[in-house]
């Protein structure tokens, strides 16, 4: 075990897998000489050279398209999109090729690409460095969508994603990169895709969340405990596939689900979870399903603390859920 920040854990996973598997290459803007704007690819160029650590033109569609072509020819490319706010330039490649190469070719070809990209707000990044676009990709058959919230999970889920034969959009909550650190296993360490993590057990309310809002939810749970309310916090970690068994188990126990994410509410991933709970667990419910999310606006700069699902907003939802 070594103490690592979130960014360091990503870097450690990349180095470990590049040493282990020579098919793994990384490509993206400013990832080589500069080590990535968040330093996630630091020192990789020196160790693996420019044919495996590829500084690309500023060209999101080409980065993703080239990664797909590389993967079809047997490599395991990891494409970095500098901010997920810029991923739309490569959107057509993601939905029309990455998600569909296997289907279009009836598995003659497949593209095991991992697209790593920072997600979310809380860093005063404004409209174009703070967005949470995960729902677009969760809506696209053929892609898997992963969002870790701890350094350990970041490493373990990234290794599993690289080794997975399906394309993965790997969101990294950027406000955790350097603020979150913990003991991370050295060397081999994988976390299975599609499994949620029970972060805190509780009996009264289930907060179902992912990404950086796991910590806001924990703080809200702590404060709720002081008021005598026992809150369970579930970190989904994986949106496609998502861990229905874990959600179901928690909702059966508490009957009061509160879904939290930074992305705007309407047609956000929370809507999918809410609908599935309504379809399958409505008789377990003791209260309406509540969503605490970003608002249906572009991401605001100066009032981002109000926009984000902060602990105050989550606690308010918990109180509403138990009828206070």
């Amino acid at each position: 075990m070594t103490v690592m920040t979130f960014a360091k854990a990503i870097n450690d996973a990349l180095r470990y897998e590049m040493r282990r598997d020579e098919r793994v290459v990384v490509l993206g803007e400013d990832i080589g000489v500069n080590g990535g704007v968040f330093r996630c690819t630091e020192h990789l160029l020196a160790e693996f050279g420019p044919s495996r650590v590829i500084d690309t033109p500023l060209s999101e569609s080409a980065i993703i398209g080239v990664a797909i072509g590389m993967a079809m020819n047997g490599l395991r490319p990891i494409a970095e999109i500098q901010f997920s706010d810029f991923i739309y330039g490569g959107f057509e490649q993601l939905v029309s090729n990455l998600a569909k190469v296997r289907y279009r070719s009836a598995s003659h070809y497949f593209a095991p690409v991992v697209v790593r990209t920072p997600v979310g707000g809380g860093v005063r990044g404004g409209m174009y460095h703070s967005q949470s676009p995960e729902a677009y990709f969760a809506h696209t058959a053929g892609l898997k969508v992963i969002i870790p919230s701890t350094p350990s999970d970041a490493k373990g889920l990234l290794l599993s994603s690289i080794r997975n034969d399906d394309p993965v959009i790997f969101f990294e909550p950027k406000r955790l990169y350097h603020s979150m650190k913990e003991d991370v296993p050295e060397g081999e360490h994988t976390v299975p895709l599609g499994k949620a993590r029970l972060v805190r057990e509780g009996d009264d309310v289930s907060v179902i969340t992912y990404g950086a809002t796991v910590y806001d939810s924990l703080e809200a749970a702590e404060r709720a405990a002081q008021e005598g309310v026992s809150v369970e916090v579930l970190d989904l970690r994986s949106l496609v596939p998502y861990d229905w068994d874990a959600i179901s188990k928690s909702v059966k126990k508490t009957g009061r689900p509160v879904i939290v994410h930074e992305a705007p509410r309407t047609a956000g991933f929370g809507a999918e979870i809410a609908a599935t709970i309504a379809e399958r667990e409505i008789y377990s419910l003791e209260a309406p399903i509540i969503r605490v999310t970003g608002y249906d606006t572009p991401y605001p700069l100066v009032h981002e603390r109000l926009y984000l699902p902060n602990p105050d907003r989550i606690l308010e939802a918990v109180r509403r859920s138990i009828g206070q």
């Binding site: 569609s61 080409a62 398209g65 590389m70 399906d166």
Partner: protein
């Protein structure tokens, strides 16, 4: 030495049409229009270095493409094919570029590529299985009009135009990294050159120089939009210049010009030369697809003027004039091809369609529970609803 200069036998015959643009070496010059079957006196096969076998192979592939193309259209009119993009008039481009490749070279085509499939040796039966989506369809009825198969190193085309271009660049980059002596060829239409992925792909390739050749089949129409409304450039070839790459323009109705130019490019790229953009100027004699009516946007006169440059007839006349085949051999070949295709069409019409559950195959390597659950849902529904097959 530029690609055009490397083909000395065509240099005397290239000046059918000259277009001014800014050349790669930085000064104003001529953009040559490479043609072999263009002048009054055509070069002998020995002079252009193409064997009789190869000449006949290309001719046969063009004839087969034309015949099968007509049959697939008829099958579409019978309701047996969902949608089809015909190759009429563009056989020389499809056959010529493919003949220039080795079997290990990989093709990233667009959706109008019957000649590529046939030149690669894909059996007529497999193409018919594909177009009519039978139980033996190698792509399981997932999509229309396209063909792809790893055994033939053909990647099935995406319908959103130009998006295969960065994939071809990536495939070639992986080949370079792995030390494979493979060349990747991607082909796209004139409309594709207005899209970002054409420019992002060429730009990326100009920096990393993987073994890739870009071919634009400029058939002058993107559905109804004429090339003059597509770009302000006088050629597509000159767009390569901005990326520091060589661009050449060939007569796309001249299978020998297409073949020789592509082969020269591919041979150089295989030895490490940078990527090349080849513009093959041709004309789409038919409709865009079976859902299109070209009478709405172009005149019969225009189409007829291009009929005089029919690529199949030009190659036929050349082969007969040079004694590579005679009229009788040609008519034997044509009736054999017709018979072969007709027999395969008969067979394919007897086949049933793929299992409904193929809907859920090839989405993931290990499908999420959501997909598996939906498959079970369809299984239950199949029992209680009429499932329309093919």
């Amino acid at each position: 030495m530029g690609l055009a200069e490397s083909l000395p036998f065509v240099r005397t015959r290239v000046r059918r049409k000259l277009i001014i643009c800014n050349r790669i070496d930085g000064h104003w010059g001529w953009y040559e229009f490479i043609a072999v079957l263009g002048g009054k006196v055509l070069p002998d096969p020995e002079k252009i270095g193409v064997s009789s076998d190869d000449l006949l192979k290309m001719y046969k592939a063009m004839v087969l493409t034309r015949v099968l193309d007509r049959y697939i259209l008829r099958l579409q009119r019978m309701g047996k094919v969902a949608l089809y993009a015909e190759s009429l008039g563009e056989e020389a481009v499809e056959v010529g570029v493919t003949q220039a490749l080795q079997p290990r070279d990989v093709v990233f085509p667009t959706y109008r590529e019957l000649g590529i499939y046939l030149t690669r040796g894909v059996p007529v039966a497999e193409i018919l299985d594909r177009m009519t989506c039978t139980v033996d369809d190698p792509l399981k009825g997932h999509e229309f009009a396209i063909f792809g198969d790893k055994r033939f190193n053909i990647v099935p085309a995406p319908t959103p135009v130009s998006t295969q271009i960065p994939l071809a660049v990536g495939y070639a980059m992986a080949a370079k990294l792995k030390g494979e002596k493979m060349v990747v060829l991607t082909i796209f239409g004139d409309g594709a050159t207005s899209k970002g992925d054409f420019h992002e792909g060429l730009n990326f390739a100009s920096v990393h120089k993987p073994p890739v050749v870009f071919v634009c089949r400029n058939n002058q129409y993107a559905i109804s939009t004429h090339i003059s409304k597509q770009t302000g450039s006088s050629t597509i070839a000159q767009k390569a210049v901005a990326y520091g790459l060589e661009g050449v323009r060939v007569d796309g109705n001249d299978v020998l010009a297409v073949y020789l130019t592509t082969k020269a490019a591919v041979d150089r790229i295989r030895e490490g030369a940078p990527p090349v953009l080849i513009e093959a100027l041709t004309y789409r004699m038919g409709a865009h697809t079976t859902s299109d009516d070209p009478k709405r946007y172009r005149t019969e006169d225009e189409t007829q003027s291009w009929a005089k440059l029919d690529p199949v007839s030009r190659m036929r006349d050349y082969l007969i004039s040079k004694g590579v085949m005679d009229e009788e051999a040609d008519s034997v070949l044509r009736s054999e091809v017709e018979r072969e295709v007709a027999a395969e069409v008969e067979k394919v019409l007897q086949k049933s369609g793929p299992d409904p559950l193929v809907i859920f195959e090839d989405v993931y390597s290990d499908p999420p529970w959501t997909v598996l659950e939906q498959m079970e849902e369809l299984k239950r529904m199949i029992g209680i609803q009429r499932v329309v097959r093919r």
